[in-house]
Symmetry: C2
Subunit: 208 residues, 2 copies
DNA sequence: ACCGTATCGGAGCACCCCGTCCGGTTCCCC
DNA sequence: GGGGAACCGGACGGGGTGCTCCGATACGGT
């Protein structure tokens, strides 16, 4: 479903495919999904045609590269649903989703971009959103979250998180952590302010 | 300073320049700043060379097109500083800045992107940020905003706002309005939750 | 060791982008 | 209205991207 059939491949072809996927994941994660296929082929020490033989289009490569990220997101949501305290579960899910998105720019963009093609993203995204909706509903019922917060607000927050840029992945994660705390604060029903993680310096040249 | 000299231009050249700027502003606002120069020339009913004659590089055209948006941002900040209640001023500034950014995708991206070249953006951005810092400081002192909120958080919020996508400019503005309210809520020192504007549906296909 | 065949990989195609060149056109002043 | 300078705009060069073709290569069963 996610990875192409590896069974009947020759050994060198299998090695190449694995190397291509590894390289593609790393490239898309750090540089976003506009990395040229040629560049991925070069880094995987492989010809362009070899990439296209395994992944007939760039979109297919993107889908394959992001499949495990999507699985990670679904796992995060399910773990959140399994948490004893729905409020804590919700909080954790937001934090962890934002961290995944911060770690992989390409995945985040792909997720919130509407790809017309096959791309089983729609299905995974739908499942994740349904899980989020359920979690949100429970957290609201338990009194942890304002009643007037809707699922669309959570989506809004996740999209917004994607707009955050920073120079390094670490800086992005730190910024996302702070941002997650701020958003959660604004969702919270309990009026008492919660402590925030340490502030971060975004990539903008501030005051100069 | 912002617009090139118009004085010694022939009448047709002046007309063309104005039409190019108009078209460029509209195009960059609605489609982001990766609109091809050819396309702008076509819409302005002008040859490519004519665009390049007035604006020697695409960056120059961007700078010229965004100059008035930058002025608008500075005006917004100054009006916020002039407000009697620093908290209300801060609130209004955030809301209005986010609205401007939502209305002009290209400008938002240009602002938070670090252009290496001339681009007097750095100066305007610096002034805006200093104003924001002053406003934030006053609002904190007046007790409207949490003491642990720093200027970087405001920048974070503005960058995040840029990540919000929607199908139409109206939808973007509505989404930004909601987002601004959420962020302001999280900055607020007063524990009582404030009402939010009506929820919005982001461009993501939700639950499907 | 050998050979058929799956696989490889670089050259090549079609397209799009930014920015320039130069012959033709238009304005403006007299 | 006429001439010269300012101006226009399509064609062009250089570079980049997704994707394909086909001769060269390497695997692996015999």
């Amino acid at each position: 479903m996610t990875a192409p059939v590896v069974h009947e491949l020759r050994s060198d072809a299998r090695d190449n495919q694995e190397r291509i996927l590894e390289v593609a994941r790393a490239a898309f994660a750090s540089e976003g999904f506009d990395v040229p296929i040629r560049e991925i082929a070069r880094r995987a020490q492989v010809g362009v045609a070899t990439v296209y033989r395994r992944f007939p289009t760039k979109e297919a490569l993107l889908a394959a590269a992001f499949a495990e990220r999507m699985a990670a997101c679904l796992t995060i949501v399910e773990e959140g649903l399994a948490a004893a305290d729905p409020w804590q579960g919700f909080r954790l899910v937001i934090e962890r989703l934002m961290e995944v998105h911060a770690l992989d720019r390409g995945f985040a963009r792909a997720l919130t971009s509407k790809f017309p093609r096959v791309f089983d993203f729609a299905e995974g995204r739908g499942r994740a959103l349904r899980g989020l909706a359920e979690l949100l509903s429970r957290a609201k019922e338990a009194g942890g979250i304002r009643k007037d917060v809707v699922l669309e607000d959570v989506v809004l927050a996740l999209m917004a998180n994607e707009g955050i840029r920073a120079d390094s992945p670490q800086a992005r994660v730190a910024a996302s952590r702070r941002f997650a705390a701020l958003m959660i604060q604004s969702f919270r029903a309990d009026p008492a302010p919660v402590p925030l993680p340490s502030p971060v310096r975004p990539s903008l040249p501030i005051s100069q």
